[in-house]
Amino acid sequence: MRAIIWKELRENFRWALLGMVLVGLAMTYALSKAAPSGQSLRAEAFEMVMVLMTSVLGAALGFGQVIFDSRQGHWALLVHRPIGRDRVFMGKVVAGLTLYFTAMLLPFFAAAIWASMPGHVAGPFRWGMAVPGLMDILTGVVYYFAGMVTARRAARWYASRCLVLVAAILCSMIVIGVTPMWGALLAIAVAGALTFTVARGSFLAAGEYEPQRRVAKASLGAALLVGIVMVGTGVIVVTVSMFESPTTWQYQNNTLLRDGTVSVVENLNGDPIGVTDLEGHPAPWFTGSSTERQKLLTDRRARGAYLSLHPFEPRSHSYRARPLVRGLYFAGDNKARWYYLSDSGRVEGYDLRTRQFIGSFGPDGFVKAGSRTTDRFTGVRPDHWSRNRGLFVMTSGIYKIDAYRRTVKTLFLPEPGMSIESYGAIAPEKDQPDTDVLVVVVNGTIHLLDHDGQPLVTQTPDHSPPAYDRVTVSLLDEPNRYAMWYYPSWKHFGAKARLMPKPLVFYGPDGQRLASQDVPAIQNKPHPPSIAGALYGLVIPPGPIAGVAGIASLTTQGRDEFAREFTTKRTFFICITLCLLLSGVVSLMVNLRLARRNAMARGRRILWATLGLLMGPSGVLLMLCMQAWPAKLRCDECGVKRLVSLFKCEHCGVGFAPPARDGTEIFD
């Protein structure tokens, strides 16, 4: 095997070298674009380079290593040796992956080291930022094996030959999209093992199907199925978007006006077209052109903040965001860029011109670069909390950072031992900048603060989790009041929550309860599904859909939801179920017929029939592109076409006649 490895390294190093140079150039370009604005390994361009280059280089190396040795004479030269074909394959893989990792890791680490050196990037660097890139590099291994399969598997180029590469794309999508790192690693491990088995199977069988082992066949089937479903989904989506006419989207919603009345707004495609009160009388003021009416409604709508009453729970962040480095934008400072770093708990600043670290903010103020400090923001920083420029909101407190003057002002701190559970901001009145109001929930109590952090009012909510878990806090005028509108919890009530009335409670400026009313839920008609859309059931795999539906029906909420959907979209559901059933049954029959006509063994017939039923048309396509289809000849005895791969006619059991002799044969 050592000799094979040596041969492969020697043969392919120049391709790897070429790849490395290209990767290096692409990385240099991406970094040079991203570095001035403070981005490095996590820059979009750089990530794109990683995803593209790892997949292309991986696939190209795997493809090249196998395709050149697949030519007749060279194949014989390679595999006719007294070491098993398996060891030849392993030798190729060891050499290929060594080259691949060298070609990817060297430029990648060079880029990382460059980015880690001060003065290169106007932003912070942490080695954890290299994790997503490393995941991309690992994903390239899947492409490498997929490339090998593409080169070796005997299939038509215009048909299923490249499908395993499509399956590798799915792995990339998971690695990019999944939240926890172990999820990405798991996806790579599963896809890697699968494609490895497929590549090995194809290599050992010289690209043929029948001589492969069962594991290799099953893996090939799985990989091809993924490819077929992905391509099929793409085709369906494109077709839908091409043929489906744009639909109108009409719905009603409740709006609280500044005077404390609740009105019902009729919307068409997002634009308000009518306003009535709860009894259905049209609002007389809602007149004029579309833009005028929209402006009227906006002016009359009460200012409010919508926030959750559940205490904030930090969710696990995507491993791609690790360590948490978030760019912050502070008004009035365009010479520096600021980032909050969760590991140091400080807001770091970088000069955009020199790209050097300026210094960092903690709760106690600004500390210049080079000075040491232990001061840090505690708690966590929910991303969706601080939309206000200049405000820096953590669960431990609300701060106002003036990046230009390098000052930090504490606006609000919860009592010791408490933390901010929820936060929202009511936007200022137009043309009155300092009229914004902050809404903070601490220990289940709602605090309203003015823009300077001075408490306006403190209110224990009338309704609270688990029954009611969201609230809109609105400011009303004439007379000055505020309103809290509670929403029933989906988690608590299930699908019923949609139909429940929403209690609206008014409070006076001092917090005394003035009045309350239950606003009945608006029952919008669900968007009617087109019956033609049900036809897509013909091409969707029925098995997975049934599986998803089955799992959903195991939960109470799923059952409720299904019952509701079913009662309202009954025809659609019946149609799509029939379509799914039809496609499954037809595919089953097609597969069964194909299997019968090709005299497949019982087990294989059952397998293909089941796959037809579960996967629908994808199952048929899978069978077509996976199986070997031996030629057929007319049987001398029974006249029916018979397979050339069987000694005995599958219809009448007669063997093949030996080639006709004409008396000129010479045998001794």
Binding site: R10, G73, P82, A206, F656, G663, E665, I666
Partner: protein
């Protein structure tokens, strides 16, 4: 007869709808030099690739040294030397490196033999394979194939594209290899003179079907040429391959008519054939001596009646 080294059993291979090999059953006896003949595309290379397990058969099976080719164990492969068609080599390897590379796989390695073959073909060990001439590259392939001292040598058209000197060297090497008493050689070729020199058995493929498998002597004896003279014009022959009815002669490959003479090329002639010839009114029957090459051409050439070219010209004018 000793145990056959290669034995095929109803071996059949289809590429798509096209049969490349049909129901081949033959045996290569141990110690023989087996010439594998046939025109291009007649299925020789396919057969050889099936024998070495490089292809899997559509149906049927083949055993090599007693093992099914579909799954040849390493120790059997070590005993089989194979030189693929058109002498492939890794172009970037120097001859010496190629030797070192090959050597690492085989339990046996005769370095003297390797160097001797290189010498014979005048290959300097430091030349890269891609810079070698066609003949030299063939020599390198041969050296790589012979040095592990295989007991079965399978050569796929080794003489293809070689000049007479290189070809002669090849034949010498093949004769040299038979020095080991149990060494068997199977080689495919188009060159009859080579086959005549070194082969003791031949198999002839035609359109994916085995048409002959016998010793060279048998082949030579069974294919004959006779000259028949007639009083007037020779009668038209029907049923050249000897179908019953009509004035047919069994086993005629083709016939050439020249005036009142008829030249027949026959296979498997026997007393019955002589009688048939008399029956159609030949006044004299004369045997025409025939070389192996002619016999082979007659055997694989177009069958049927061929009038002489000059007659043809005459008929038109």
């Amino acid at each position: 007869m000793p145990q056959p080294v290669i034995e095929t059993h109803k071996l059949t291979k289809y590429f798509g709808d096209k049969p490349a090999l049909q129901d081949l059953s033959m045996a290569v006896p141990q110690g023989s030099v087996f010439g594998f003949l046939g025109r291009n595309g007649s299925g020789k290379t396919t057969t050889i690739r099936l024998m070495l397990g490089l292809l899997s058969p559509t149906r049927g099976s083949v055993t090599v040294l007693g093992h099914d080719s579909a799954d040849l164990p390493d120790d059997i492969r070590a005993r089989v030397g194979y030189m693929p068609e058109s002498h492939p080599a890794y172009g970037w390897m120097k001859a010496r490196e190629a030797g070192r590379f090959q050597r690492s796989f085989y339990p046996n390695w005769n370095d003297d033999l390797f160097n001797a073959v290189l010498d014979h073909f005048r290959i300097t060990p430091n030349t890269k394979a891609k810079h070698l001439s066609r003949g030299m590259r063939a020599g390198l392939c041969l050296a790589l194939t012979l040095a592990p001292e295989p007991e079965l040598l399978v050569l796929d058209d080794p003489a293809l594209g070689l000049d007479p000197v290189a070809r002669h060297s090849f034949l010498e090497s093949m004769v040299y290899v038979t020095r080991e008493n149990n060494c068997t050689i199977l080689f495919s070729s188009h060159l009859l003179s080579d086959v005549e020199r070194v082969a003791d058995r031949i198999a002839v493929m035609d359109h994916s079907v085995l048409r002959a498998c016998c010793s060279v002597e048998t082949f030579r004896n069974q294919v004959r040429q006779v000259l028949l003279r007639f009083e007037g014009d020779p009668p038209a022959l029907t049923g050249l391959s000897g179908e019953p009815g009509g004035p047919g002669i069994p086993g005629v490959l083709h016939s050439v008519r020249m005036g009142n003479e008829l030249k027949l090329t026959l296979v498997n002639a026997n007393g019955e054939v002589d009688e048939a010839m008399k029956r159609i009114g030949a006044t004299s029957i004369e045997s025409v001596p025939m070389g192996l090459e002619e016999a082979f051409l007659a055997y694989l050439g177009d069958r049927g009646e061929r009038t002489s070219f000059f007659d043809h010209v005459g008929a038109k004018s």
